[in-house]
């Protein structure tokens, strides 16, 4: 079969860095081709070359046998290459209809609303998507927003769709739907380049996998030739990290006792509704649930960011429901927030300042009313080397760091005071396998020292691997607990959709 896209020996350098060294791969019509590689392996750069944002230094690209040189994303789009970015380019205040219309070419000044609405609705029906054209985008789930991005590209007749980590923000159910749609597209002869870190998904959806490492394509494997171990070995150059030893003799001491908690959101609706949970000492308690079922409210209520409407939180015998008592205890709760850049760090401050944000009042970092810059710097050096943070030149703002390194800065800071409880909200979202493994290790090591963790995650594999117990949330309530040694993905999936289970 003639290839739709051929990439040959692409090389791209930036001042001082070789981003892409030598990349070659092909995509056949109707193929789902996965690009696999750690962060920094060059996936984004490659996609930016492919869509015309960057110009390669050398190498060739052919589309349907013709050599092509794209000068801009619009250019590549007009030739049928479209990309769904990791961060959606949607206007939250606009309706779905308006967002899609914006992406279309040659819309007349006085456009026929009906005509375009019908065109969009036809696509929505074809793929059986659950999408209301008149709804404003900010009211929609992330999953639904992704459909909008996809429909935009389909309406422009793209032959090749590039999806950059589309499942990073999706629930298992939404991922299943996405894969169904991708297979349908495949049947229609569309080619898809799929970028992901999640091994299970790569295994499930790919016809072929190309592995990128340090800017080079090191292998392309067909379906029959790969399995998870081979891929992991090729990608990170080592065997899959073995399963963690589960904490079998769990202490029965309860460090946090949440009783009948209710928390309302800004619109006055219940985020947490009569929610109860008990956290034992040294335990990693996984929280499973479809995103938006109260996980964030739980984390924020525990860390003091959210007002509690009803219910109580006890730490041992101490009632820490209300602010003063909580404030004194909060220092014992470390928080890895969901949104790294906006609430996890102060983006314009440097690593050293971000690391002392919780402890700047500590006499260690002070000399009277002045800061002790030397101690602060020493602290930074120590943390940077202990947590293997790639911090860049001293004094440069944290926002220039990669996602994985920002997350490490947050974790280094949060764990520096030996917290009794860690509340981690999607701590590995968007991170490459290496960084994610590292964060897992930190959490498991902490458990060994007696730290209890509430781990809120969307990847069930991650939860099953790390957790001693899994609690499932649905519409702000606790549906039940599952034992990761005995449960299955299917069972948790059912509980996530609200089906009540007996507590083990």
């Amino acid at each position: 079969m003639p290839e739709l896209l051929q990439i040959q020996n692409i090389r791209k350098t930036f001042p001082g860095v070789v981003a892409l060294d030598d990349v070659s791969f092909t995509v056949a019509p109707g193929e789902i081709h996965t690009l696999l590689g750690e962060n920094g392996a060059g996936k984004s750069t490659l996609m930016n070359v492919l869509t015309g944002l960057y110009h390669p230094d050398s190498g060739h690209m052919q589309l349907a046998g013709e050599p092509v040189h794209f000068t801009s994303p619009r250019d590549s789009l007009s030739r049928g290459i479209g990309m769904v970015h990791q961060h959606f380019m949607l206007v939250p205040a606009h309706s779905v209809f308006e967002n899609i219309l914006l992406a279309l070419d040659r819309v007349p000044q006085f456009y026929d609303r009906k005509h375009y609405q019908q065109k969009m609705q036809k696509l929505i029906d074809t793929f059986e998507l659950d999408l209301d054209l008149d709804a404003e985008v900010w009211k929609l789930s992330i999953g639904a927003q992704q459909w909008i991005e996809l429909i935009k590209l389909l309406l422009r007749d793209c032959r090749l769709l590039i999806l950059d980590e589309p499942t990073a923000v999706l629930t298992p159910q939404e991922t299943d739907r996405l894969f169904k749609v991708l297979r349908l597209l495949q049947q229609q002869g569309k080619s898809i380049i799929f970028i992901s870190h999640k091994m299970r998904e790569v295994m499930e959806i790919s016809d072929r996998v190309t592995i990128l490492k340090k800017g080079s394509s090191i292998a392309t494997l067909k379906r029959a030739e790969f399995n998870a171990d081979i891929l992991a070995r090729l990608m990170i150059g080592q065997d899959r990290i073995p399963e963690w030893q589960k904490n079998l003799q769990m202490s029965e001491k309860i460090v946090l006792d949440i009783r009948n908690l209710s928390v309302r959101n800004d619109r006055g609706l219940a985020d947490l509704d009569d929610f109860s949970l008990q956290l034992k000492e040294g335990e990693i308690l996984g929280i499973a649930g479809v995103a938006g079922n109260g996980q964030k409210a739980l984390a924020e209520a525990l860390t003091g960011l959210k007002e509690i409407n009803k219910g109580k939180i006890f730490a041992g015998d101490m009632d820490m429901t209300h602010s003063t008592a909580r404030a004194s205890y909060i220092s014992g709760i470390a928080h890895i927030p969901e949104d790294r850049k906006s609430i996890g760090i102060a983006p314009d401050l440097d690593v050293a300042d971000n690391l002392i944000m919780k402890s700047f009042k500590n006499s260690l970092f002070r000399r009277g009313v002045f800061q002790n810059r030397r101690a602060i710097r020493r602290n930074a050096e120590e943390k940077v080397s202990r947590f293997a943070i790639k911090a860049g030149p001293e004094g440069s703002p944290v926002r220039y760091l990669s996602g994985g390194n920002i997350q490490k800065v947050i974790i280094a800071r949060e764990l520096s005071e030996q917290p009794r409880v860690l509340v981690a909200l999607y701590p590995t979202r968007g991170l490459d396998i290496g960084s994610a493994e590292y964060i897992h290790k930190v959490i498991v090591d902490g458990a060994g020292r007696g730290m209890s963790t509430i781990l809120i995650a969307e990847d069930l594999d991650e939860l099953l691997k790390l957790s001693d117990r899994i609690a499932v949330m649905f519409r702000g309530r606790l549906i039940g607990y599952a034992d990761p040694r005995r449960t299955s993905r299917e069972e948790i999936g059912l509980m996530m959709s609200g089906e009540q289970r007996e507590q083990p």
Partner: protein, 306 residues
């Protein structure tokens, strides 16, 4: 009696309406304009001078639009091209407007012009109650009626309007769709300023056909408040502008009748009301039913991806 009061309401509300519509156009593209007060004065003087020298109020109106369009381009240059601080630039525009019109308006003080005449619409103008206030008015008032609809239609039913709103909501998204953020913002600011200028011209051509220093008397600030009150929509802006017009008309009436209440207190009423409106609409904004463009006040720089 009601007819006269309504008539005065529409006439007092019209300059504020034009200014509010212009400011909405600015802010829909994401640019805050606190220079409305200054631009109104510039429009008032330009309109008066244009009419004075040409003898035609129509030329005066065009002059007001053209001069404020150019004046607005200063704000556009600073905020769009140079990505300066919109608040500071707008405040400077207000002070510039007050100063420059006082300086160049000295020759116009005490001069008289013909002013805008009423053009009754045959038939409709004979309707009871609404006939006089809505159909025995001058050209600019009719224009403002049409403009309210045109602005809504432009924003919500045309491709360019959609693009403009996108620029105001999420300039980065607009950029990726191939919409030139700076071009849209520039023309939104200048055209909006032009409309504000016509509002100013209404003061010196129709309400009181003469030039008085600082004659806008805070109406520009009322317009700034009305933009928030109206939730950035032209229909509600009309309602808001007439509400203020009504209060102004009422207090004038009170003064004419002669009450015991001090005229100073009566003259304060529209401004007291502005504060009330701001309090109420700010509470509404915080409740989450916000219509405020998300990109409002934020300069856009393609390279500055956060």
């Amino acid at each position: 009696m009601v007819e006269i009061l309504l008539d005065a309401t529409v006439r007092a509300g019209t300059p504020i309406l034009f200014a509010t519509l212009g400011a909405i156009l600015n802010e829909r593209a994401g640019i805050i304009n606190l220079g409305i007060e200054g631009l109104m004065l510039i429009g008032a003087l330009a309109g008066f001078a244009g009419t004075f020298y040409s003898g035609s109020p129509l030329i005066g109106i065009l002059a007001a639009f053209a001069v404020t369009f150019v004046a607005g381009s200063i704000h556009a240059l600073i905020t769009v091209q140079l990505r300066g601080n919109q608040i500071v630039s707008g405040l400077a525009m207000t002070m510039f407007g007050i100063g420059v019109t006082a300086l160049f308006g000295r020759g116009m003080v005490g001069q008289t012009i013909g002013g805008l005449e009423r053009l009754p619409i045959p038939g409709l103008s004979q309707l009871p109650i609404i006939g006089r206030p809505f159909f025995q008015q001058d050209l600019l008032i009719y224009t403002s009626f049409v403009l309210v609809f045109v602005l809504w239609f432009f924003l919500y039913r045309t491709r360019t309007g959609l693009a403009l709103r996108t620029v105001g909501e999420n300039p980065a998204a607009a950029d990726t769709c191939g919409i030139s953020v700076s071009l849209y913002r520039f023309f939104a600011v200048t055209t909006g300023a032009g409309l504000v200028g016509i509002g100013g011209a209404y003061l010196s051509l129709a309400m009181t056909p003469m030039w008085i220093e600082n004659m806008s008397a805070g109406r520009g600030w009322i317009a700034v408040a009305l933009v928030i009150f109206s939730g950035w929509s032209s229909g509600k802006a009309m309602f808001g502008a007439y509400l203020f017009g009504g209060i102004t008309a009422m207090q004038l009436r009170f003064q004419a009748i002669g009450t015991d209440i001090s005229t100073h207190i009566l003259q304060m009423l529209p401004y007291v009301f502005t504060i009330l409106v701001l309090v109420v609409s700010t509470i509404r904004l915080q409740k989450g039913s916000s219509q405020q463009p998300q990109g409002l006040g934020l300069p856009y720089d393609r390279e500055d991806r956060k």
